[in-house]
Symmetry: C3
Subunit: 325 residues, 3 copies
């Protein structure tokens, strides 16, 4: 279920060839090397290389095997010129990313996103989504273009689902928002006009339960993924590019920052928080109110902020109390 | 106001006699002792025994006075065989609970929940609820079967109210969800298919204010209760079976875990959290960002995580600073 | 953009003269001194004095220059009698405030608030608001009287906007609530009937981004203000009278208490919290999960709870670990 057709969610505004796209970012471009001009219809990431695409590299990387596909590199690292023969070296990679993606794709953070809705049984359902007949959808929902929902899934009321693929037997509770825009931008370029376009999706596998008033941001280029049998309580925030493994359980008001990878069978207490880009091993337990700032090995039990082994955390509390606390 | 008719909210799917229900859980049943076969139409809890019902016992308990009523015991504790003459001893009480309740009751976490709505003034109102004429309801709301709302209550916009009884002069602010599904399941059996059916209600007494984007889960079998004159700020999570006493005040983003009992005149700062099943005495003050892990005596003032007397908490901070902090 | 016409949002119920309003609070009034009887049509605050208004003073203040305007003082501080010649000295200023404001203004926390909606493209839009033609509004939204929205702003789905003025290029994401009621009341007088009427607005300047499931309370008398180019992630709570300066960035699940003033270029991590009425200097960085309890100087970087200089916070952690942690 991990593949998705970007065009179903983010239609191309216009066909651009590499040369034309490079003209758009010309003020930002220092060097432009073209092997072959081609029509661009997608964006690649390090984890998924796509044919006829552009890949944005923020670091020096000599080992991406892009030779078999038409992929043009855009990077702010001069060194990459050595490794790739279709490349634009730019000053500010965020500006280049925004400029190219805004030119290529319709997305919901710019005016004119094309969609058409039917009002079915009290909810707005896009004409461009695929919903199994055995799905139940409550009132005051909005399901937008490209969304697919498999059988026996229950969408309760006042739920917004965009840019998402949902499996079987999924439950999404009231007032939740799935497929929302990730919080991505250059720290030196703030404001809604400088948001990095987010053109990925949310994939929710079979038997997942998501509570009330949750928000799950879609991936930036690829997916935010919630694997089967995972259970998420109320008011949980899941940022872009996160993976929640199978059989996880996440209690209320927890927040998971961008690109965190959570393993299988992980149990997370309420009001916990996770720094971005960390990995949480299988079978770990994260106590309530933990602030997890770095990778956690599998089978660990952690607590506190910064989260440490729960035995250490308890020892420290006892020590503090002995000292007059 | 603490009584409610379960059938108003959770209609019986079918009439079952004890013997038939026991057949459903036969793979789970080790011992089955029947005093008298009867039609089951309700579920009992330790706090409320109901006639013609089943009670699920997770521990050895010899002091439940069920002799005057038709009550069948389902338990995973072999010892209970000594005390009750209508009893099923099962291997996994969660499985038995789910199996029996899913057979008996319609509830919103399974397909086919029966309800019918009218679109009144921009909101969907069930034909099976009782709303006083002097209640004001905003737009894009959903009020489902069984709900009762008393006079002069104001429901703002995009609010979902299910399985709830609301008193007079209550205010529920925008985008809140009342009566949502509690986060109840066996930790070893995860996924939406293993959710414990939640067939209780939310009772909100007179003059309660609930802010925007709150979620209040209904009781599992009995009620989640918010007593009169209590005030709840935005984005507060209240889990199943919680009681909030009279005249409480709960600031934004606080989370209250399942079965917590909060007394009267309790003041709770923002972003506080409470472990499950604890008791908070009358007139206590819980400072903002406290993580309360155990019972708190009345008239206490606590802070920190784990929350301790606020004077101790402050002393500890001073001590830390002296040590070079 | 900082001026707003209160009558656009909160219509006067009835024209009252000072003498008539004082009669309403007579049981609360100890002393009443009248210079000139006039029709009251607004409320003043210390930061904005308005002609033909009442100002409520909770402390002794001798330096308010109200001589050029018709302003009547209501106060519970006897000493103020020396400074003002149009004054009511009351026992309980909260009761007087509630009584006078409820008599003067329609507001959404009392029955009978007058508004009229049109259903436009799936959302309810008040006939009494001004929305630029180039604004895009999703489905299941509610936009109430007085709201103004400037060009190229995008309101996503299931959004509630009340009592607000929005600039250009603003983005408000799904399920957010803007202009909600602040959590204001006398701690000794709880319950929905004793809420302090909140008759201010929210002002959101150009290019602001607000994520999903946020809540921004309107000002009590003046404004809650989010300045241009600021970016707010999902599930952020912003209380009444807060100012967020230009170019701020606030990560998910942060809560900002009433009357906090945040400077320019401030970066705030996720799940941070702020005590009420504090000032955060320009260019500060507040680490994730900080609990900020007092003013922070500009250019600071703070962490922890209570938040301290991040170097001190890290030193303390290292010291704890050395001690066996």
């Amino acid at each position: 279920m991990k593949n998705f057709k970007r065009e179903n969610f983010f239609p191309l505004k216009k066909k651009y060839m590499i040369e034309d796209l490079n003209k758009l970012i010309e003020p930002e471009t220092n060097i432009f090397k073209l092997k072959k001009n081609f029509f661009v219809n997608d964006i690649s990431s390090l984890s998924t290389l796509r044919d006829c695409s552009i890949i944005f590299l923020e670091s020096e990387l000599n080992n991406i095997n892009i030779s078999s596909k038409d992929i043009h590199v855009v990077t702010d690292k001069q060194e990459n010129i050595k490794y790739y023969d279709s490349i634009s070296i730019v000053k500010n990679i965020n500006k280049a990313y925004n400029c190219i993606l805004n030119a290529l794709f319709y997305h919901e953070d710019q005016s004119g996103f094309p969609d058409e809705y039917e009002y079915v049984n009290g909810s707005y359902i896009s004409k461009f989504c695929k919903i199994n007949n055995n799905v139940e959808i409550g009132k005051n929902c909005l399901i937008s273009r490209g969304v697919e929902i498999d059988e026996n899934t229950i969408i309760k009321n006042n739920v917004v689902i965009k840019n998402s693929l949902l499996g079987k037997n999924v439950i999404i509770c009231d007032n939740s928002s799935i497929g929302t825009t990730g919080f991505g931008f250059d720290f030196n370029l703030r404001g809604s006009l400088h948001l990095n376009p987010q053109i990925g999706v949310v994939i929710i596998e079979d038997n997942v339960h998501i509570g009330a008033s949750c928000a799950v941001d879609r991936g930036k280029i690829d997916s935010t993924l919630i694997c089967k049998n995972s259970m998420i309580d109320n008011m949980v925030h899941i940022a872009h590019n996160v993976t929640v493994g199978e059989n996880c359980c996440i209690a209320a008001q927890t927040g998971i920052s961008g690109s965190v990878k959570i393993g299988k069978n992980v149990t997370i207490g309420g009001q916990a928080g996770f720094a971005g880009h960390i990995k949480i091993g299988n079978n770990t337990v994260i106590a309530a109110r933990s602030g997890v700032t770095k990778d956690i090995k599998e089978n660990s039990v952690v607590a506190g902020f910064p989260a440490v082994d729960i035995k250490e955390w308890k020892k420290n509390l006892i020590r503090q109390r002995k000292n007059g606390y």
